[in-house]
Protein backbone atom coordinates (compact mmCIF):
# COMPACT_ATOMS: atom_id res chain seq x y z
CA UNK A 1 0.00 0.00 0.00
CA UNK A 2 1.37 3.42 -0.91
CA UNK A 3 0.49 7.03 -0.11
CA UNK A 4 -1.68 7.49 -3.19
CA UNK A 5 -3.90 4.55 -2.17
CA UNK A 6 -4.39 6.11 1.27
CA UNK A 7 -5.47 9.39 -0.30
CA UNK A 8 -7.66 7.72 -2.91
CA UNK A 9 -9.44 5.67 -0.26
CA UNK A 10 -10.31 8.80 1.63
CA UNK A 11 -11.59 10.58 -1.43
CA UNK A 12 -13.61 7.60 -2.66
CA UNK A 13 -14.90 6.64 0.79
CA UNK A 14 -13.51 3.11 0.48
CA UNK A 15 -12.43 1.20 3.58
CA UNK A 16 -8.87 -0.05 3.60
CA UNK A 17 -7.73 -3.40 4.95
CA UNK A 18 -6.73 -2.66 8.55
CA UNK A 19 -3.44 -4.55 8.57
CA UNK A 20 -2.05 -3.05 5.38
CA UNK A 21 -3.20 0.42 6.36
CA UNK A 22 -1.67 0.24 9.83
CA UNK A 23 1.59 -1.10 8.43
CA UNK A 24 1.84 1.84 6.05
CA UNK A 25 0.83 4.41 8.63
CA UNK A 26 3.45 3.15 11.06
CA UNK A 27 6.19 4.08 8.60
CA UNK A 28 4.71 7.20 7.02
CA UNK A 29 4.23 10.24 9.29
CA UNK A 30 2.68 12.28 6.41
CA UNK A 31 -0.03 9.72 5.79
CA UNK A 32 -0.54 9.26 9.51
CA UNK A 33 -1.21 12.96 9.93
CA UNK A 34 -3.42 13.01 6.87
CA UNK A 35 -5.34 9.95 7.96
CA UNK A 36 -6.02 11.30 11.44
CA UNK A 37 -7.29 14.59 10.12
CA UNK A 38 -9.46 12.84 7.54
CA UNK A 39 -10.88 10.52 10.18
CA UNK A 40 -11.99 13.56 12.15
CA UNK A 41 -13.58 15.10 9.09
CA UNK A 42 -15.24 11.78 8.25
CA UNK A 43 -16.72 11.64 11.71
CA UNK A 44 -18.08 15.19 11.34
CA UNK A 45 -19.68 14.38 8.01
CA UNK A 46 -21.09 11.11 9.33
CA UNK A 47 -22.73 13.00 12.20
CA UNK A 48 -24.05 15.53 9.70
CA UNK A 49 -25.59 12.74 7.63
CA UNK A 50 -27.72 11.74 10.61
CA UNK A 51 -28.97 15.26 11.27
CA UNK A 52 -32.75 15.52 11.60
CA UNK A 53 -34.15 17.78 8.92
CA UNK A 54 -37.62 19.28 8.77
CA UNK A 55 -39.42 16.91 6.43
CA UNK A 56 -43.17 16.77 5.85
CA UNK A 57 -44.95 13.57 4.92
CA UNK A 58 -45.33 12.96 1.21
CA UNK A 59 -47.74 10.22 0.35
CA UNK A 60 -47.88 8.26 -2.87
CA UNK A 61 -51.62 8.98 -3.00
CA UNK A 62 -50.87 12.70 -3.30
CA UNK A 63 -48.44 12.00 -6.10
CA UNK A 64 -50.95 9.74 -7.83
CA UNK A 65 -53.44 12.62 -7.89
CA UNK A 66 -50.81 14.71 -9.69
CA UNK A 67 -50.04 11.84 -12.03
CA UNK A 68 -53.73 11.54 -12.91
CA UNK A 69 -53.44 14.87 -14.78
CA UNK A 70 -50.85 13.34 -17.10
CA UNK A 71 -53.29 12.55 -19.85
CA UNK A 72 -53.97 13.91 -23.32
CA UNK A 73 -51.87 14.70 -26.36
CA UNK A 74 -49.28 16.87 -24.64
CA UNK A 75 -48.67 14.31 -21.91
CA UNK A 76 -48.16 11.68 -24.60
CA UNK A 77 -45.85 13.88 -26.69
CA UNK A 78 -43.62 15.01 -23.84
CA UNK A 79 -43.14 11.45 -22.64
CA UNK A 80 -41.80 10.23 -26.01
CA UNK A 81 -38.14 9.23 -26.11
CA UNK A 82 -35.83 12.21 -26.47
CA UNK A 83 -34.43 11.10 -29.83
CA UNK A 84 -37.93 11.00 -31.24
CA UNK A 85 -38.77 14.41 -29.76
CA UNK A 86 -35.59 15.82 -31.32
CA UNK A 87 -36.42 14.32 -34.72
CA UNK A 88 -40.03 15.47 -34.67
CA UNK A 89 -39.02 19.06 -33.91
CA UNK A 90 -36.19 19.17 -36.43
CA UNK A 91 -38.24 17.59 -39.19
CA UNK A 92 -40.52 20.62 -39.80
CA UNK A 93 -37.44 22.85 -40.11
CA UNK A 94 -35.95 20.48 -42.65
CA UNK A 95 -39.21 20.27 -44.57
CA UNK A 96 -39.62 24.05 -44.53
CA UNK A 97 -36.06 24.47 -45.83
CA UNK A 98 -36.67 21.99 -48.65
CA UNK A 99 -40.04 23.50 -49.49
CA UNK A 100 -38.64 27.04 -49.28
CA UNK A 101 -35.69 26.08 -51.42
CA UNK A 102 -37.88 24.50 -54.06
CA UNK A 103 -40.85 26.83 -54.22
CA UNK A 104 -39.79 30.22 -52.83
CA UNK A 105 -36.16 30.33 -53.86
CA UNK A 106 -34.72 33.84 -53.88
CA UNK A 107 -34.09 35.32 -57.27
CA UNK A 108 -30.41 36.16 -56.87
CA UNK A 109 -29.12 32.78 -55.68
CA UNK A 110 -27.40 32.21 -59.00
CA UNK A 111 -25.28 35.33 -58.49
CA UNK A 112 -23.60 33.96 -55.35
CA UNK A 113 -20.95 31.23 -55.28
CA UNK A 114 -22.57 27.88 -54.46
CA UNK A 115 -19.98 27.26 -51.74
CA UNK A 116 -21.02 30.41 -49.90
CA UNK A 117 -24.68 29.43 -49.97
CA UNK A 118 -24.00 25.88 -48.84
CA UNK A 119 -21.69 27.10 -46.08
CA UNK A 120 -24.17 29.66 -44.80
CA UNK A 121 -27.11 27.25 -44.81
CA UNK A 122 -24.97 24.59 -43.12
CA UNK A 123 -23.95 26.94 -40.32
CA UNK A 124 -27.59 27.79 -39.72
CA UNK A 125 -28.75 24.19 -39.83
CA UNK A 126 -25.98 22.83 -37.59
CA UNK A 127 -26.63 25.55 -35.01
CA UNK A 128 -30.37 24.82 -35.06
CA UNK A 129 -29.76 21.09 -34.65
CA UNK A 130 -27.34 21.81 -31.80
CA UNK A 131 -29.92 23.92 -29.99
CA UNK A 132 -32.58 21.23 -30.38
CA UNK A 133 -30.13 18.50 -29.33
CA UNK A 134 -29.26 20.40 -26.17
CA UNK A 135 -32.91 21.06 -25.43
CA UNK A 136 -33.93 17.45 -26.02
CA UNK A 137 -30.94 15.63 -24.60
CA UNK A 138 -31.96 12.41 -22.82
CA UNK A 139 -31.40 13.97 -19.48
CA UNK A 140 -30.46 17.64 -19.47
CA UNK A 141 -27.10 17.89 -17.81
CA UNK A 142 -26.41 20.72 -15.45
CA UNK A 143 -24.34 23.12 -17.48
CA UNK A 144 -23.23 26.66 -16.84
CA UNK A 145 -25.57 29.35 -18.04
CA UNK A 146 -22.82 30.53 -20.38
CA UNK A 147 -23.39 27.40 -22.49
CA UNK A 148 -26.93 28.43 -23.30
CA UNK A 149 -26.17 32.13 -23.48
CA UNK A 150 -23.32 31.38 -25.89
CA UNK A 151 -25.63 29.69 -28.34
CA UNK A 152 -28.22 32.42 -27.90
CA UNK A 153 -25.65 35.15 -28.58
CA UNK A 154 -24.51 33.23 -31.66
CA UNK A 155 -28.12 32.95 -32.83
CA UNK A 156 -28.62 36.68 -32.42
CA UNK A 157 -25.26 37.66 -33.87
CA UNK A 158 -25.20 35.57 -37.08
CA UNK A 159 -28.33 37.09 -38.67
CA UNK A 160 -27.15 40.54 -37.59
CA UNK A 161 -23.75 40.04 -39.19
CA UNK A 162 -25.45 38.66 -42.29
CA UNK A 163 -26.94 42.12 -42.76
CA UNK A 164 -23.45 43.50 -43.34
CA UNK A 165 -22.05 40.54 -45.30
CA UNK A 166 -20.91 41.17 -48.89
CA UNK A 167 -23.89 41.09 -51.21
CA UNK A 168 -24.64 41.85 -54.84
CA UNK A 169 -24.91 45.52 -55.78
CA UNK A 170 -28.62 45.24 -56.56
CA UNK A 171 -29.31 43.45 -53.33
CA UNK A 172 -27.40 45.93 -51.17
CA UNK A 173 -29.02 48.96 -52.75
CA UNK A 174 -32.54 47.61 -52.48
CA UNK A 175 -35.04 49.66 -50.47
CA UNK A 176 -35.40 48.68 -46.82
CA UNK A 177 -39.16 48.36 -47.24
CA UNK A 178 -40.87 45.02 -46.80
CA UNK A 179 -39.22 44.35 -43.45
CA UNK A 180 -42.58 43.85 -41.78
CA UNK A 181 -43.57 41.34 -44.44
CA UNK A 182 -40.38 39.35 -43.92
CA UNK A 183 -40.86 39.50 -40.15
CA UNK A 184 -44.40 38.16 -40.49
CA UNK A 185 -43.31 35.47 -42.97
CA UNK A 186 -40.52 34.27 -40.65
CA UNK A 187 -42.74 34.38 -37.58
CA UNK A 188 -45.57 32.49 -39.29
CA UNK A 189 -43.26 29.74 -40.53
CA UNK A 190 -41.61 29.26 -37.14
CA UNK A 191 -44.83 29.39 -35.14
CA UNK A 192 -45.55 25.64 -35.62
CA UNK A 193 -42.00 24.87 -34.50
CA UNK A 194 -42.51 27.03 -31.41
CA UNK A 195 -45.72 25.18 -30.61
CA UNK A 196 -44.03 21.82 -30.99
CA UNK A 197 -41.19 22.97 -28.71
CA UNK A 198 -43.77 23.88 -26.09
CA UNK A 199 -45.65 20.60 -26.56
CA UNK A 200 -42.53 18.46 -26.22
CA UNK A 201 -41.08 20.37 -23.25
CA UNK A 202 -41.20 18.21 -20.12
CA UNK A 203 -41.15 21.19 -17.77
CA UNK A 204 -44.49 22.65 -16.77
CA UNK A 205 -42.87 26.08 -16.63
CA UNK A 206 -40.17 26.87 -19.20
CA UNK A 207 -36.73 26.83 -17.63
CA UNK A 208 -34.10 29.46 -18.39
CA UNK A 209 -32.36 26.81 -20.45
CA UNK A 210 -35.50 26.29 -22.55
CA UNK A 211 -35.95 30.04 -23.00
CA UNK A 212 -32.39 30.47 -24.30
CA UNK A 213 -32.28 27.36 -26.48
CA UNK A 214 -35.77 27.75 -27.93
CA UNK A 215 -35.22 31.41 -28.77
CA UNK A 216 -31.90 30.52 -30.40
CA UNK A 217 -33.40 27.68 -32.44
CA UNK A 218 -36.44 29.68 -33.53
CA UNK A 219 -34.44 32.80 -34.40
CA UNK A 220 -32.04 30.76 -36.49
CA UNK A 221 -34.83 28.78 -38.14
CA UNK A 222 -36.64 31.96 -39.14
CA UNK A 223 -33.47 33.47 -40.57
CA UNK A 224 -32.59 30.28 -42.41
CA UNK A 225 -35.98 30.31 -44.11
CA UNK A 226 -35.67 34.01 -44.92
CA UNK A 227 -32.20 33.46 -46.39
CA UNK A 228 -33.83 31.10 -48.88
CA UNK A 229 -36.65 33.48 -49.67
CA UNK A 230 -35.58 37.11 -49.43
CA UNK A 231 -33.13 38.71 -51.87
CA UNK A 232 -33.12 42.08 -50.14
CA UNK A 233 -29.62 42.65 -48.74
CA UNK A 234 -30.27 46.16 -47.47
CA UNK A 235 -28.79 46.19 -43.93
CA UNK A 236 -31.76 48.03 -42.43
CA UNK A 237 -34.16 45.55 -43.98
CA UNK A 238 -32.14 42.55 -42.78
CA UNK A 239 -31.81 43.93 -39.26
CA UNK A 240 -35.48 44.89 -38.87
CA UNK A 241 -37.12 42.12 -40.85
CA UNK A 242 -34.81 39.15 -40.27
CA UNK A 243 -32.39 39.50 -37.37
CA UNK A 244 -35.05 40.93 -35.06
CA UNK A 245 -36.93 37.62 -35.12
CA UNK A 246 -34.45 36.01 -32.72
CA UNK A 247 -34.97 38.85 -30.29
CA UNK A 248 -38.74 38.64 -30.72
CA UNK A 249 -38.78 34.91 -29.90
CA UNK A 250 -36.54 35.56 -26.91
CA UNK A 251 -39.00 38.15 -25.60
CA UNK A 252 -41.95 35.81 -26.18
CA UNK A 253 -40.33 32.89 -24.34
CA UNK A 254 -39.19 35.14 -21.52
CA UNK A 255 -42.74 36.47 -21.21
CA UNK A 256 -44.16 32.95 -21.12
CA UNK A 257 -41.64 32.06 -18.42
CA UNK A 258 -42.52 35.19 -16.46
CA UNK A 259 -46.26 34.51 -16.73
CA UNK A 260 -45.86 30.88 -15.66
CA UNK A 261 -43.89 32.03 -12.63
CA UNK A 262 -46.64 34.44 -11.66
Amino acid sequence: MDCSQIRDAFVSGARLPDEQRDAHLANCPQCQALFERDAELGRSLAVQASVALPVAELSFARFERELAHETGLRAWLRSRPSRLRFTLVLLPVLLAVVAGGLFRQRADFAEYPALRIVLLLSVYFVAIALAFAKEFSELPRPAPLQDYLGLLCFALAVPTLAGFAPATEASRHAYPGGALGCFGYGAALTLPIALSLWAFDRDDQPSLRTVCLSAAALGLSANLLLELHCANGNPTHVLLGHASLGLAWLLIWATVRGLSRA
Binding site: A9, F10, V11, S12, G13, R15, L16, D18, R21, F35, E36, R37, D38, A39, E40, L41, G42, R43, S44, L45, A46, V47, Q48, A49, S50, V51, A52, L53, P54, V55, A56, L58, F60, R62, F63, E66, L67, E70, A75, R78, S79, R80, P81, S82, E138, L139, P140, R141, P142, A143, R202, D203, D204, Q205, S207, L208, R209, R261
Partner: protein, 187 residues
Protein backbone atom coordinates in the same frame (compact mmCIF):
# COMPACT_ATOMS: atom_id res chain seq x y z
CA UNK B 1 -37.72 0.99 -13.29
CA UNK B 2 -37.67 -1.65 -16.01
CA UNK B 3 -40.82 -3.15 -14.49
CA UNK B 4 -42.53 0.24 -14.51
CA UNK B 5 -41.60 0.86 -18.15
CA UNK B 6 -43.05 -2.57 -18.91
CA UNK B 7 -46.34 -1.42 -17.41
CA UNK B 8 -46.14 -2.54 -13.78
CA UNK B 9 -47.66 0.43 -11.92
CA UNK B 10 -46.90 -1.04 -8.51
CA UNK B 11 -43.21 -0.81 -9.37
CA UNK B 12 -43.44 2.98 -9.42
CA UNK B 13 -44.93 2.99 -5.93
CA UNK B 14 -41.93 0.99 -4.78
CA UNK B 15 -39.54 3.44 -6.46
CA UNK B 16 -41.40 6.31 -4.84
CA UNK B 17 -41.16 4.79 -1.40
CA UNK B 18 -37.50 3.89 -1.83
CA UNK B 19 -36.24 7.24 -3.09
CA UNK B 20 -38.57 9.77 -1.46
CA UNK B 21 -36.72 9.91 1.90
CA UNK B 22 -33.36 10.42 0.16
CA UNK B 23 -34.73 13.14 -2.10
CA UNK B 24 -36.59 14.86 0.73
CA UNK B 25 -33.37 15.12 2.70
CA UNK B 26 -31.49 16.38 -0.35
CA UNK B 27 -34.10 19.10 -0.89
CA UNK B 28 -34.60 19.92 2.79
CA UNK B 29 -30.94 20.84 3.18
CA UNK B 30 -31.47 23.88 0.97
CA UNK B 31 -35.12 24.74 1.33
CA UNK B 32 -36.65 26.32 4.37
CA UNK B 33 -40.13 25.00 3.81
CA UNK B 34 -40.75 21.23 3.94
CA UNK B 35 -43.75 21.76 1.68
CA UNK B 36 -41.61 23.37 -1.01
CA UNK B 37 -39.14 20.52 -0.65
CA UNK B 38 -41.98 18.05 -1.11
CA UNK B 39 -43.19 19.91 -4.20
CA UNK B 40 -39.74 19.50 -5.75
CA UNK B 41 -39.63 15.82 -4.79
CA UNK B 42 -43.02 15.34 -6.38
CA UNK B 43 -41.86 17.14 -9.53
CA UNK B 44 -38.81 14.89 -9.60
CA UNK B 45 -41.03 11.81 -9.78
CA UNK B 46 -43.26 13.49 -12.34
CA UNK B 47 -40.21 14.11 -14.54
CA UNK B 48 -39.08 10.56 -13.95
CA UNK B 49 -42.46 9.42 -15.22
CA UNK B 50 -42.22 11.69 -18.27
CA UNK B 51 -38.71 10.57 -19.13
CA UNK B 52 -39.27 6.86 -18.42
CA UNK B 53 -38.88 5.90 -22.07
CA UNK B 54 -35.40 7.46 -22.10
CA UNK B 55 -34.23 5.12 -19.36
CA UNK B 56 -31.98 2.40 -20.69
CA UNK B 57 -32.16 -1.00 -19.02
CA UNK B 58 -29.04 -1.80 -17.06
CA UNK B 59 -28.40 1.83 -16.27
CA UNK B 60 -28.33 2.92 -12.62
CA UNK B 61 -31.47 4.71 -11.54
CA UNK B 62 -30.11 6.57 -8.54
CA UNK B 63 -27.86 9.01 -10.44
CA UNK B 64 -30.67 9.45 -12.98
CA UNK B 65 -33.13 10.51 -10.28
CA UNK B 66 -30.61 12.77 -8.60
CA UNK B 67 -29.80 14.49 -11.90
CA UNK B 68 -33.49 15.31 -12.32
CA UNK B 69 -33.72 16.49 -8.72
CA UNK B 70 -30.60 18.67 -8.98
CA UNK B 71 -31.85 20.28 -12.19
CA UNK B 72 -35.20 21.04 -10.60
CA UNK B 73 -33.56 22.47 -7.49
CA UNK B 74 -31.26 24.69 -9.56
CA UNK B 75 -34.18 25.93 -11.64
CA UNK B 76 -36.18 26.56 -8.47
CA UNK B 77 -33.46 28.82 -7.09
CA UNK B 78 -32.96 30.48 -10.46
CA UNK B 79 -36.70 31.12 -10.72
CA UNK B 80 -36.97 32.49 -7.21
CA UNK B 81 -33.76 34.48 -7.74
CA UNK B 82 -32.02 33.22 -4.63
CA UNK B 83 -29.29 30.67 -4.09
CA UNK B 84 -29.90 28.97 -0.81
CA UNK B 85 -32.49 29.77 1.78
CA UNK B 86 -30.40 28.55 4.66
CA UNK B 87 -28.02 31.23 5.82
CA UNK B 88 -24.85 30.79 7.82
CA UNK B 89 -26.48 32.51 10.76
CA UNK B 90 -29.61 30.40 10.61
CA UNK B 91 -30.15 28.48 13.83
CA UNK B 92 -31.91 25.76 11.88
CA UNK B 93 -28.81 24.72 9.94
CA UNK B 94 -28.38 21.55 11.92
CA UNK B 95 -30.44 19.87 14.57
CA UNK B 96 -28.82 16.48 15.12
CA UNK B 97 -30.51 13.60 16.85
CA UNK B 98 -29.66 13.68 20.53
CA UNK B 99 -26.97 11.15 21.37
CA UNK B 100 -25.13 10.28 24.55
CA UNK B 101 -23.12 13.46 24.26
CA UNK B 102 -25.94 15.49 22.81
CA UNK B 103 -24.74 19.05 23.29
CA UNK B 104 -21.23 18.35 22.02
CA UNK B 105 -22.52 16.49 18.99
CA UNK B 106 -25.03 19.23 18.39
CA UNK B 107 -22.37 21.97 18.40
CA UNK B 108 -20.04 19.98 16.15
CA UNK B 109 -22.87 19.23 13.79
CA UNK B 110 -23.87 22.89 13.53
CA UNK B 111 -20.27 23.77 12.86
CA UNK B 112 -20.06 21.14 10.11
CA UNK B 113 -23.30 22.38 8.55
CA UNK B 114 -22.01 25.95 8.56
CA UNK B 115 -18.70 24.83 7.09
CA UNK B 116 -20.55 22.96 4.34
CA UNK B 117 -22.65 26.02 3.55
CA UNK B 118 -19.50 28.10 3.18
CA UNK B 119 -18.19 25.84 0.40
CA UNK B 120 -18.56 26.77 -3.26
CA UNK B 121 -21.74 25.08 -4.60
CA UNK B 122 -19.88 22.69 -6.94
CA UNK B 123 -17.77 21.35 -4.05
CA UNK B 124 -20.64 21.20 -1.62
CA UNK B 125 -22.81 19.39 -4.15
CA UNK B 126 -20.46 16.44 -4.66
CA UNK B 127 -19.76 16.07 -0.94
CA UNK B 128 -23.47 16.08 -0.10
CA UNK B 129 -24.34 13.61 -2.86
CA UNK B 130 -21.58 11.26 -1.74
CA UNK B 131 -22.07 11.49 2.01
CA UNK B 132 -25.74 12.26 2.41
CA UNK B 133 -27.20 10.88 -0.83
CA UNK B 134 -25.18 7.68 -0.60
CA UNK B 135 -23.92 7.92 -4.19
CA UNK B 136 -20.55 6.47 -5.13
CA UNK B 137 -18.15 8.80 -6.93
CA UNK B 138 -18.91 7.31 -10.37
CA UNK B 139 -22.61 7.85 -9.58
CA UNK B 140 -21.96 11.41 -8.39
CA UNK B 141 -20.08 12.05 -11.63
CA UNK B 142 -23.04 10.75 -13.63
CA UNK B 143 -25.51 12.81 -11.62
CA UNK B 144 -23.65 16.10 -12.05
CA UNK B 145 -22.60 15.39 -15.63
CA UNK B 146 -18.87 15.34 -15.02
CA UNK B 147 -15.97 12.91 -14.94
CA UNK B 148 -15.04 10.83 -11.92
CA UNK B 149 -11.63 12.51 -11.78
CA UNK B 150 -13.15 16.00 -11.85
CA UNK B 151 -15.65 15.09 -9.16
CA UNK B 152 -12.88 13.70 -6.96
CA UNK B 153 -10.91 16.91 -7.38
CA UNK B 154 -13.96 18.94 -6.39
CA UNK B 155 -14.51 16.72 -3.35
CA UNK B 156 -10.87 16.90 -2.36
CA UNK B 157 -10.86 20.69 -2.52
CA UNK B 158 -14.04 20.70 -0.48
CA UNK B 159 -12.49 18.42 2.14
CA UNK B 160 -9.44 20.67 2.39
CA UNK B 161 -11.67 23.71 2.91
CA UNK B 162 -13.81 21.84 5.44
CA UNK B 163 -10.76 20.70 7.37
CA UNK B 164 -9.47 24.23 7.52
CA UNK B 165 -12.76 25.48 8.86
CA UNK B 166 -13.43 22.59 11.22
CA UNK B 167 -9.89 22.74 12.54
CA UNK B 168 -11.11 25.43 14.90
CA UNK B 169 -13.52 22.97 16.55
CA UNK B 170 -12.08 20.93 19.38
CA UNK B 171 -11.81 17.24 18.43
CA UNK B 172 -13.63 14.55 20.34
CA UNK B 173 -10.95 11.85 20.77
CA UNK B 174 -13.32 9.20 22.12
CA UNK B 175 -15.44 9.15 19.03
CA UNK B 176 -12.71 9.48 16.41
CA UNK B 177 -12.79 6.34 14.31
CA UNK B 178 -9.70 4.43 13.38
CA UNK B 179 -10.58 5.15 9.77
CA UNK B 180 -13.07 7.19 7.84
CA UNK B 181 -16.54 5.83 8.51
CA UNK B 182 -18.36 4.72 5.43
CA UNK B 183 -21.73 6.20 4.51
CA UNK B 184 -23.42 2.92 5.36
CA UNK B 185 -21.74 2.90 8.73
CA UNK B 186 -22.99 6.35 9.52
CA UNK B 187 -26.64 5.42 9.05
Amino acid sequence: MAAYIAGDKAAFRELFQRYTPLLQRAMARDLRSPEEANDLVQQTFLHLHRSRLDFQPGRKLKPWIFTIALNLKREYFRRSKRRHETSLDDDRVAEPFEGPRGQERSDASRETARALLSLPPEQREVIELHWFGGLSFPEVAEAVGSTVAAVKVRAHRGYVALRARLGEVAPDPDSVHAGKPSVAESK
